[in-house]
């Protein structure tokens, strides 16, 4: 099978050379990667391969591939922002003859060139988790609507404040990242503020990191402890923030929300570290991605557009008017180690 595909590749390469002369610019993997009437070969490229979120995504994709008789291989960048590593991964997957590449792009613009090359070679490319800019750079995007997830968090916090005007700290992720921006603006929309609102008493970027969040909030608390609401962009930062708030004895006066839906985060909500988290569903993204790959390999049909894989507020303090699930449901549906 492999021998035959290699022969096909060689033939395709030879054909390209003979038909187009010998100083042509051509695209790698020429001809062997297209779908239709064959076996699905799915490659997954995540931002890193150590973050539990991506571990879950990879495990789900692998399981779905096995269940559907597709070949599967997973590669990753070395750190968040490793565009070069992701480009390398795309090239290597094409070299191995993948006909579908599922990618969580490290930056929304970083790997577009390589994605373009892959698509021109007939590879179906689906962005998982993080959208590209423009979103038409990929065939389809299966992801959480991060703006909506942020909005849900904001709406919950607003409702939980029960009419009190918010005095808010915002713990952001990596400045400038798309996901961060979408969740941040979504949250503000949900709580009914803007970036210029005086209700925002402090902001700190913490790169998604627990200890940086703790430091950042400790520093903000030096300025003021008169707050009643905290936005955190993900759960590790929620834990760091909680540690800082707890040290100052502020936990009980504050409504804190987060986003992710990792099992540890759901447990944090159950244990009362923060009031609510918004769960996203990496497993769905991965499974739908693999199913699309199998479909493409069989029929050549490509999915298109943005497919929202959904998000759900998880809390044990439900508030009328805000749709939510409790932590029991959360623990059944969370990602990561249960």
């Amino acid at each position: 099978m492999r021998q035959r595909s290699l022969a096909a590749l060689a033939l395709a390469a030879a054909l390209t050379v003979t038909t187009a002369g010998c100083t042509v610019e051509r695209h790698w993997g020429g001809g062997s990667n297209a779908g239709g009437g064959g076996k699905a070969k799915v490659g997954l490229v995540t931002k890193t391969d150590t973050n539990p979120y991506f571990v879950e995504l990879r495990a789900a994709a692998k399981a779905a591939a096995e269940a559907n008789g597709a070949e599967f291989s997973a590669l990753a960048g070395q750190f968040d922002g490793d565009n070069d590593g992701q480009v390398r991964a795309i090239e290597n997957l094409m070299q191995q003859g993948a006909n579908t590449i599922l990618i969580t792009p490290s930056s929304s613009t970083g790997v577009l060139d390589a994605i373009d090359r892959a698509r021109k070679a007939g590879v179906l490319v689906i962005a998982l988790d993080t959208a590209t800019e423009p979103d038409t750079a990929v065939d389809a995007t299966f992801a959480t609507d991060n703006f909506e997830a942020g909005r849900q968090q904001g709406a919950y916090v607003k409702a939980a404040l029960n009419g009190k005007p918010p005095k808010l700290f915002m713990v952001d992720g990596t400045a400038g990242s798309t996901v961060d921006t979408q969740r941040h603006t979504g949250f503000l929309k949900g709580i009914g503020l803007t970036d210029a609102s005086p209700e925002i008493k402090g902001k700190t970027p913490a790169n998604g990191d627990q200890s940086l969040a703790q430091q950042g909030v400790e520093n903000l608390l030096q300025r003021t402890t008169d707050i009643n609401a905290v936005y955190t962009m993900n759960e590790p930062m929620g834990r760091g923030t909680y540690a800082a708030l707890q040290a100052r004895g502020l936990v009980n006066q504050i409504v804190m929300g987060s986003i992710d839906g990792g099992c540890e985060g759901v447990k944090n909500v159950r244990d009362g570290q923060y009031a609510a988290t918004v769960m996203q569903f990496p497993k769905k993204m991965a499974e739908q991605g693999v199913l699309a790959a199998v479909e493409y390999a069989k029929t050549g049909k490509k999915p298109s557009g943005f497919v929202n894989t959904g998000s759900a507020v998880i809390t044990d303090k439900p508030i009328p008017g805000v749709e939510s699930q409790d932590t029991k449901w959360g623990l059944e549906n969370c990602w990561g180690t249960k």
Binding site: V17, G29, D49, D82, N83, E91, Q96, V111
Partner: protein, 329 residues
């Protein structure tokens, strides 16, 4: 290429052989890796793939070229990748601001040269250890890049800035990019400068024994400063290479570029104590890492095990170096 000498007509021991030709070890490793991967996968020994492997090693390979010069003088550059990232952002933002590609490119290179001059001056005039200077610069430049770009990646549309990666021709059936061609020319140029010119001899002498170099009339400080400036030019060109590979200047990119470049230089047989190493060795070192990554990926080896393999190879290379030195003494 090295300062180790042979006495009379003695046959060199294995250790002396490695000392005389530091590129031999990494070349052997490269050959072994290529043979193993060619036999164990269907996809490795493929002209397109071999071309890809070289392209994948270009940015680190270019950074490593500048790093070689600095390590030859017993220095180290922890800030080269950060300076490169800043240069990619300068180039990209200038182009977005309407400056032509050629000026953006030149100004980006000017920036890295200025950084090289600052580093070199701190090392030679104030006698600060290069490790400390570049550690500080690493932090400063990383922050500067993020501030300059407001944390945002800047896509690059300019043809000239992308040129090294996008334009390619076929040579004997192998797709060659202009980036590969430029890297080869740079390696050849620096090889010539280091082995065939007085400047090159001074660089080795300064790294080997600065005091005796000074006594024999070599202007030690001026030589070291020139090394940092040339390395600055190379880092600027690495930025161009990086935009050729990924036409998107990202302040979060290449966080491990400094360490990767040091790995390539050390795998290439250079000594971190200065005075020993070669451009050819560095080229092999950079290629060995890229070949390992590509081959192991195609074998389906987990990326973390690939890191284990690369790290082990690095320690192995230094062991060979130690062994060779002991044989010599």
């Amino acid at each position: 290429m090295t300062t180790a000498t042979l006495k009379g007509n003695e046959r060199p021991s294995i250790g002396e052989f490695f000392l005389r030709a530091p590129a031999v070890g990494p070349a052997l490793a490269l050959l072994v890796a290529i043979v193993v991967f060619s036999l164990s996968t269907d996809t490795f020994l493929d002209l397109d793939n071999l071309s890809l492997v070289v392209q994948q090693s270009l940015v680190v390979g270019t950074l490593a070229l500048g790093q070689t010069l600095i390590i030859l003088t017993a220095g180290i550059d922890l800030a080269n990748a950060a300076a490169m990232v800043l240069a990619t952002l300068i180039m990209a933002k200038l182009v977005v601001g309407g400056v032509s590609g050629i000026w953006a490119l030149l100004l980006g290179i000017v920036a890295t040269v200025v950084i090289g001059m600052v580093t070199g001056s701190l090392v030679t005039r104030i006698k600060l250890p290069p490790f400390i200077v570049t550690l500080g610069l690493l932090t400063v430049l990383t922050a500067a890049a993020k501030l300059f770009a407001s944390g945002q990646a800047v896509p690059v549309a300019d043809e000239l800035l992308k040129w090294l990666g996008t334009r390619r021709y076929l040579f004997g059936g192998i797709p060659i990019t202009y980036g590969m061609t430029l890297a080869l020319l740079m390696y050849l140029g620096l090889w010539y400068a280091l082995t065939r010119t007085p400047w090159g001899k001074h660089v080795y002498a300064v790294g080997n024994a600065p005091e005796s170099a000074r006594l024999s009339g070599i202007k030690v400080n001026r030589t070291i400063l020139s090394v940092y400036i040339v390395a600055g030019v190379i880092v600027g060109i690495a930025a161009w290479q990086a935009l050729g590979r990924v036409p998107n200047a990202d302040p979060n990119a290449f966080q491990l570029g400094n360490l990767d470049s040091i790995t390539a230089v050390v795998l290439g047989g250079a000594s971190l104590f200065g005075g020993r190493g070669s451009v050819l060795g560095t080229m092999m070192g950079a290629l060995v890492v890229a070949v390992l990554r590509s081959g192991l990926t195609q074998l389906g080896v987990d990326a973390l095990y690939q890191d284990v393999a690369t790290g082990a190879l690095l320690i192995g290379a230094v062991c060979v170096d130690r062994f060779a030195r002991r044989q010599q003494s």
